[in-house]
Symmetry: C2
Amino acid sequence: MKEKLEFLKLLADETRLKILNILMCEDSYVEKIACDLSLTPATICYHLKKMESAGIVRCSRAQFYIIYSLNRDIFDKPLYELVKKDEPVVDEDEKYKKDVLSNFFKYGRLVQIPMQRKKRDIVLCEIAKSFEVGIRYDEKEVNEIIHRFHDDHCTIRRDMIASGIMSREKETYWLNEK
Amino acid sequence: MKEKLEFLKLLADETRLKILNILMCEDSYVEKIACDLSLTPATICYHLKKMESAGIVRCSRAQFYIIYSLNRDIFDKPLYELVKKDEPVVDEDEKYKKDVLSNFFKYGRLVQIPMQRKKRDIVLCEIAKSFEVGIRYDEKEVNEIIHRFHDDHCTIRRDMIASGIMSREKETYWLNEK
DNA sequence: ATAGTGATTTGATGATTTTCTAATCATTCT
DNA sequence: AGAATGATTAGAAAATCATCAAATCACTAT
């Protein structure tokens, strides 16, 4: 995906398209192209080097000049080849999270506390969304909020502290940043 | 050219490629895509609207949702179709200028003063490059410089004034801006 | 009607990218 | 060797574009 994106980005520029069209007709060199397009050699060089490193053009020295030519093979593919994914599009982490949540929550209630550490953290994070950063809660408030999700608020409250999602000092609890 | 460029620019964006890949699998709607990609609905809407106005996607309302779908026809073309010019690449004006100059100058000398107004202006502009803006020249200096290009410096000097390329006051001449 | 939900627009911000000038590099020719 | 010419790089300025938050719009269902 990344590579195809870079390739498309290279094509999607007015100056580079013009350069490619010139090279479709005949090989050429920096100064000549610059003159044809009324731009500086530095600019043309910048574009040619970019395209060279992506394999779109090649160059070779001939006497005074460095002759650039097109790598014509590249343009035969149909367009959808360039658009179609070769990696999953949706963020894998996000997908996994969603799966876990939909497995353990039914109608907004936690049906079971996950045994696996990784899954339990995801579930705890979800519950943590009901707390706000910067607010101090006493134990009664914490229990009440957690109880909306699961009867065993004690276990979950303890896990919140253990996993570092919340902190506690004496009788007050608070949600940690991030 | 312009249109193809716009099309390529639309394809050459990571988020839009991801959206297209999602739509390749199944039709979808703003909020769902936003959720899949962990972006805001506003952002997804922005991209979809852009692609819609280019005919890449379509949309239609279905109950609560506005369902977006792919216009699949577009992706069948081979890539070079998108790159190849359908207008001349080189600036027509520039080309014309070049032709005129190469017709009337040989080895740096003007072989004949063009009769056509348009062509004469181009030739005069070329000669004017030997003068600098902001410098005052007396008639002798002007003649000397013009003489490098053509024997009949008087005619050309007069044409320079007449065409507005240079100005004169009493004995001094100067090149006008631009 | 109106409350609720998804879609869109607006305005601001930040990131990326193109372009130029000036300086430097590399090669050829004298 | 060094002069000349084309190519490249570095650095800075300007333009373009994606993203978000907040406000507004459009439709549905009660």
